[in-house]
């Protein structure tokens, strides 16, 4: 744990010493708040539903922007040479970096809580749903971030890491959307439940309802652990 902590502190310092973290937080909060309040005062319903419906799509674009630099930049500048010459195990470096990026995301999500306070002040929202949705946002973000981290090890170009990250996460999101599963007709219809299960946002929707089903958490843990495992393997593969 101590080793991960050393790596985590360094990585977090880089996020906050450079403008990346601030830009990310400000833009994320700005865009979500704008999209939320644009309709909030028109609909006049004291609920954050429209806000949380945005989250999977916001994460789709924003999280690969946090994860893209994690490994691509190290490879590009060559600092990975230095990093990997330090007495760390690969998984310690991978987790340290991942948790630092996760911290940036969690902080951003926590900074959206004033929205909940506004909604609470103006009406009587269902707090169970709001708490559930926040929980779902964390799990969803953790999984997308792990996928983005893995993709960042595959290239030395941050922009490519970002674009591929968005594409992969988009594919995993769209595959579970009704608009896609509707096309699974005839013999393909057997795939529908799998597509439903695979869809990144579906489990988020179900957690957001306030129904805490262990299957949804297992899904997100799997979608986080697997890419992180692949990240470790990918970092090790560079040594062959």
């Amino acid at each position: 744990m101590g080793r991960i902590w050393v790596m985590y502190k360094k990585e977090l310092k880089i996020y906050f010493d450079s403008p990346i973290a601030y830009i990310f937080i400000i833009v994320f909060l700005g865009v979500t708040s704008w999209l939320f309040f644009r309709t909030f005062f028109l609909i006049k319903v004291s609920s954050m539903r429209s806000f949380f419906m945005l989250i999977p799509w916001m994460c789709l674009f924003f999280i690969p922007a946090i994860s893209m630099r994690l490994w691509a930049e190290e490879r590009k500048t060559g600092s990975s040479e230095l990093l990997l010459s330090l007495p760390f195990q690969e998984w310690q470096v991978v987790l340290g970096k991942y948790f630092a990026a996760l911290t940036v995301y969690v902080l951003t999500i926590l900074l959206t809580t004033p929205l909940a306070i506004v909604v609470g002040a103006l009406g009587e929202p269902d707090w169970g749903v709001i708490v559930g949705s926040y929980l779902g946002s964390l799990f969803l973000g953790a999984a997308i971030l792990a996928i983005g981290t893995f993709i960042s090890t595959l290239t030395t170009n941050q922009i490519i890491a970002f674009i591929i990250g968005v594409l992969v996460v988009a594919a995993l999101t769209v595959v579970g959307q009704p608009l896609f599963t509707l096309f699974l007709q005839g013999p393909l219809a057997v795939l529908t439940p799998y597509a439903d299960w695979l869809g990144l946002a579906n489990h988020f929707t179900s957690i957001s309802r306030g129904v805490l089903d262990s299957r949804d958490f297992v899904y997100y843990l799997l979608m986080t652990a697997l890419p992180l495992y692949l990240t470790v393997k990918s970092v090790q593969a560079s040594k062959v």
Binding site: K10, T77, E81, L82, S85
Partner: protein
């Protein structure tokens, strides 16, 4: 102590390092010399545990790269080629991170960082970001991170490239000082530097070790390349026909004052000056210069790395 045993590393079809074996003992600075692309960096990266070889192994202080890569990394300070650093970090922050990463206890870490800043003369730059530093200072930060845990072995990949002469001298002095107790492997493609800094030189070419020894021993390896300069006046034809069999004329030049300058090359490695003197006397001529040119390290190097065509 750095031990490399039968190391072979291929990248696809290219053999980067081919069955290389050598040892660097504590208190020894070993120069790793070779043209660009000879396999110096690859060998160093294998020892550091950054890449795995196809065959053979390397050990640092008894830790094997296969069984105990973290042990290897603990006993090693590494300065990568071109010194990649974290641009966004401040010098002190970066050194604190490496101190922590090297498991230096918190109570000692601050003193250790201060000591490194002093050793590497970084006082004026301590609170700047690494991105603001010049090449020379970056190199010093790189050295500071390699030395912070006082490792028994050091691997420095072209530590002087891109530095000005004063900085090069400083780095060499530091390497010599550190080399009194540590095992240091130091790569360079500058011969003069290897000659001045190292106790022993390894010459690598196309992935193979082609020469090993101290600078004098290496010079002795350049067999057949002893050269003589003779300045002579008299019957040229008579002299040329009277030369001993192992000597051939490399160049012949009429000097403005009427003397004849001859560059002779001999296949005999040891000094045969007196035979040439006798040949001149036998030709009835006069001699005003007879000099034997020792093979320099440069000639040895060219000889070893280009198969003698130089």
């Amino acid at each position: 102590m750095i031990e490399v045993e039968n190391l072979t590393k291929r990248f696809g079809a290219t053999v980067a390092v081919d069955n290389v074996t050598f040892t660097v003992k504590p208190g020894e600075v070993v120069g790793f010399l070779g043209p660009n692309g000879a396999g110096k960096t690859t060998t160093m990266r294998v020892i550091t545990g950054l890449i795995y070889p196809q065959a053979g192994t390397a050990r640092v202080n008894g830790h094997d790269i296969w069984n105990d890569p973290v042990g290897v990394k603990r006993s090693l300070g590494y300065l990568p080629e071109s010194t990649p650093l974290y641009e966004e970090m401040g010098v002190v922050d970066f050194l604190r991170f490496t101190a922590e990463a090297r498991s230096i206890p918190k109570k000692d870490a601050r003193a250790r960082v201060d000591e490194m800043i002093e050793t590497c003369a970084l006082q004026e730059m301590a609170f700047k970001d690494i991105s603001e530093l010049s090449r020379g200072y970056r190199q010093r930060v790189g050295l500071a991170q390699a030395l912070i845990h006082d490792p028994p072995a050091l691997i420095l990949d072209e530590p002087t490239s891109g530095l000005d002469p004063t900085q090069i001298l400083e780095i060499r002095k530091l390497v010599r000082r550190l080399g009194q107790h540590k095992a240091i492997l130091f790569s360079t493609h500058i011969l003069d530097e290897a000659q001045k800094t190292c106790d022993r030189i390894l010459i690598i070419n196309d992935g193979r070790l082609v020469g090993e020894g101290n600078p004098q021993e290496l010079a002795a390896m350049a067999k057949g390349s002893s050269l003589y300069r003779v300045e002579f006046r008299g019957e040229t034809q008579q002299l040329l026909s009277g030369l001993p069999g192992h000597v051939t004329v490399a160049a012949q030049q009429e000097l403005p004052d009427g003397w004849l300058a001859l560059d002779l090359s001999s296949t005999e490695p040891d000094d045969r000056s007196e035979e040439l003197f006798d040949a001149v006397v036998a030709a009835g001529g006069k001699l005003r210069r007879l000099a034997r040119k020792e093979a320099t390290l440069e000639e040895v190097f060219l000889h070893l790395t280009k198969g003698g065509e130089a």
